[in-house]
């Protein structure tokens, strides 16, 4: 990936266990460049989710820093940074009301005020996934796990982020829904291959191989093989 732009850089991330000795993350160094599809694999409890949350600046760190395009992400830069780098939870929370309500909700946030909700574009996305616009009028609590995850992904994608941090997005889904989610992310990446990147956390090696061009292993909070890429 030489020549591609450095998007996200983690410099020496350390996070202590809440009580007692030891580290949840130790000296994690990682660079995400435009066009990269990274996968982070490791057994449960190895710190995959914590690493992804740290990359999104959702949790405080004991040491280390996150840089976005060379600048440290601190203070009031954080919300704007999260406009470009969106973390997706394993179990999406969509809130009350219809699917469309949920998709419109982010536009009420200050960082997205300048953007406008584009229903037509969402309908096109849904068509691509073999769904019709009817899904937008459904109540959120009527959605299956797979549908909810797809809506959560569309909610993030419509905001035109540059990096998606995907925390086992298909862990609770059946095979069909898993493929639909993988396809959606693949199509999204292909639309603008150098200006986008994904970091996908998975406990499933096969899936990680399918969705990534580079795999990193996390063991007890430490990235194996030097950690830098």
């Amino acid at each position: 990936m030489s020549g591609a732009e450095d998007f996200l850089r983690a410099r020496g991330l350390w996070r202590r266990k809440p009580r007692g000795e030891g580290w949840l993350l130790s000296d994690v160094r990682l660079t995400v460049r435009g066009g990269q599809r990274l996968a982070i694999v490791g057994p449960s409890g190895s710190g995959k989710t914590l690493l992804l949350r740290a990359l999104a600046r959702l949790d405080p760190l004991d040491r280390g820093e996150i840089l976005w395009r060379g600048e440290a992400v601190v203070g009031n830069r954080v919300p704007d940074f999260r406009r470009h780098v969106i973390y997706l939870h394993q179990r999406p929370v969509l809130g009350e009301g219809t699917v469309e309500d949920s998709l419109q909700a982010p536009y009420r946030l200050n960082v997205h005020r300048a953007s406008r909700f584009d229903r037509q574009r969402l309908v096109e996305w849904l068509r691509l996934l073999g769904r019709d616009a009817q899904l937008l009028t459904r109540r959120q609590r009527e959605l299956s796990g797979g549908e909810a995850q797809i809506i959560a992904l569309l909610r993030a994608i419509q905001l035109q982020p540059q990096v998606l941090l995907l925390d086992e997005p298909t862990a609770a889904l059946d095979a069909d829904a898993t493929l639909a989610v993988e396809r959606l992310i693949d199509v999204w990446m292909r639309q603008d291959d150098t200006a986008r990147a994904t970091v996908w956390v998975s406990h499933d090696q096969q899936q990680a191989a399918r969705v990534s061009t580079k795999m990193l292993a996390l063991q007890q909070g430490r990235l194996q093989g030097g950690g830098s890429c």
Binding site: P18, R57, P60, N76, P79, L109, V111
Partner: protein, 266 residues
Amino acid sequence: MLNPTYIELDASRVALAALLILVNGAISLALRLGMARTLLVASARTVVQLVLVGMVLQWVFGDRPWFVVLGLLMLMTFIAGVTAVQRNQRRYPGIWTDTMISVWVSSWLITSFALLVVIRDMQPWYQPRYAIPLLGMVLGNTLNGISLGMNALTEALVTRRDEVESLLALGASRWEAAAAAVRHAVRTGMVPIVNAMMVVGVVSLPGMMTGQILAQAEPLQAVKYQIVIMFLVASATGLGTVGVILLGYRRLFNADHQFLYDQISE
């Protein structure tokens, strides 16, 4: 009070009222409610606590210097703060400081306003006959609002954790992510005093007003005092509740727009 205008109660008359509690105790024994012992303890506590506070008040009202009055007011405020924290089911580092600051600032600000601006004509300004009961009433309600509000805030943040974090992940500022929980908490803290203001005089006659009437005050004078008290209590409760919730919000959401969920302990 050399010539009280009301009928004085001696110990024998108080004892007559205590007979009523004995009747309650007898009913409890007959129906095996298991309440007799609790009733006895509660009655004994009522007598001991009130007699003690009466003795303290009698002593303080006996023309004591300002620092004695001030010391007593501080002690009352401190106890209110401790009680407010202890009523919380969840804690976070800094809850003691936040609660003490909120109880202290809201109750003292509002009581000072009452003493110096609303009632104002007493001599000296720290007249304990006014300052102590006014602060006591303000504190009793404020600590209630503060503890209800804090409980509601931590409860909402714990149960809606995923929602709060989803918002943050999509670019919400800490305020945007917490606003729903903060508003819910403030409303919860204000519910008792707003309800009390809605029904005052219709469903219940407030104790202070009743007391003044029994002590031969003109009912309309007693009503004016009661209105003032209701407004003082409502504003102090609002100030204290908003204060403690905003301070708590600042502790649980840092300047990097992160929700410090791990700081909340049961």
